[in-house]
Amino acid sequence: MNPTVALAIIGVVIVLTTAFGLFGVRKIRMSPQQFIVGGRSFGAVFLWLLMAGEVYTSFTFLGAAGWAYGKGAPAFYIICYLTLGCTIGLFVLPLVWRVARQHNLLTNADYFATCYQSRSLGVLAAVVGVVFLIPYITLQLTGIQILLRIAGYGSIDATVAAGLAFFLVVIFVFFGGLRGAAWASLIKDALVLAAVMFAGILLPIQFFGSPQNAIDQVMKLKPNWMTLVPGGGEFGTIWFVSTILLTGCGAFMWPHAIAATYSAKDEKSLRRNLAGLPFYQIMLLLMYFAGFSALILKPGLKGQEVDQSFMLVVQEHYPAWTLGLVGGAGCLAALIPAATQILAAASLISKNILSTRAVGAGEGNQTLLTRCLIVGVALLAFGLWIFEKATLVGLLLIAYSGITQLFPGVLFSLMRQRPSALSVVLGILVGIGLLVLFAAEGMTVLSGLNVGFVALLANAMTVLLFWRAGSRP
């Protein structure tokens, strides 16, 4: 086995894709509107690429197979929550988009500041966004490191290589902005689609005759693998239901998902997109097949190793070039979403946390400031990653629960009689306070419910309780 072949292919794939993305935007002048939300001009195709591109990150790629391998039926939550997210989004996001269009909003924090006429709430929403985006970005780095280590057949530790790939993408988003990311998603999606079809169809057919036979073998080995434990245990039915509701509400609360929403050129493109997006979940079904196949072919992986399961099967049974292409697709699935996440975090800081007036109102200045902050956010995420690799999976669970605390504020903003800004602030603080408490206690379920869901309910109840608090009569 030759490690240089697979690694070289991954390198070429990443460089070509970023070059393609930059080529796509070579003649575009980057005003803040253009840089952060693509000039609000994306039609159905671009919007599809961007939204689907953000939803399918390396953790969908590795994690869906990993959970199918390590947990079985609880993994099915991934196909459910994105579908619920699209259904909720269909009713919520067009109204958010309309406010954004009217007031030229750039970030999700802008939306809070505008709807509730409170700059402080905007700052709080921005802080929440940045704080929970950073662990998500570091997670992508872990994904890249896993892929590069496997592609190098264990000959390199891949920390440096992952860092190099990461900073290439930082340079890419520095110049390309959101539109560059949408262009790059074109290649990324094509490669990921090919890799997923290989992993979920060709691989099971080759070893078992069909994906269904792979499932038969898993069920012979573990008869209860395809159903949930009924009731309130960890990963039981109650956990499943509360988790898909929680993450369904949170799916489009991410700052980068809101930026993608703003980039729509009209409401119709946005709504049609959300209606069609669940079709994409079929890719995840294929990743389950890949995970189940890996469970038979390479049993015995434990803990965080399960995320590597299907890549290890590819490494063992296929030539280096196949490993390189699949690994390259996986790396892109980490890098392109990381690019939009870094961009969203940087725009939150430049637009909402630092006052733009401080650096002059010029549009060029704002783009420049956002670009500088891209480098800052990337360095921060990279630093965190170097020091805190071990706790990342725990961090992601908290991050998803954390970002969802913005949902009640968005939902209540759609009502004719809105709650006061103070009540929304209190709700977010109560929700996040509870999450910190649960995390400190090491709790993930409370009488069967996902603790994030409990925090979300407490958040909404707080807003209802203090509905008029602090509002002028």
Partner: protein, 73 residues
Amino acid sequence: MDDQRDADGGARPNAASLCVAAIPFCALVFGAFLANYSEPRIAGLPFFLAYLIFWVLTTPAFLWLANRLLERK
């Protein structure tokens, strides 16, 4: 601002569209309670997975219909 938001008569959620979208939504949410079985197998898939996949893939049809109901003035 509220008036401006409602004035263009665009897609404000209405009862009909919400009901249509609620069908696959509820089917998925309560799926864990209703369909948490391995048997019968459907097209080789365990029943629970087949049930979820069925509702995920029919969701676009329901959302398309909900869209039509939203767009109708």
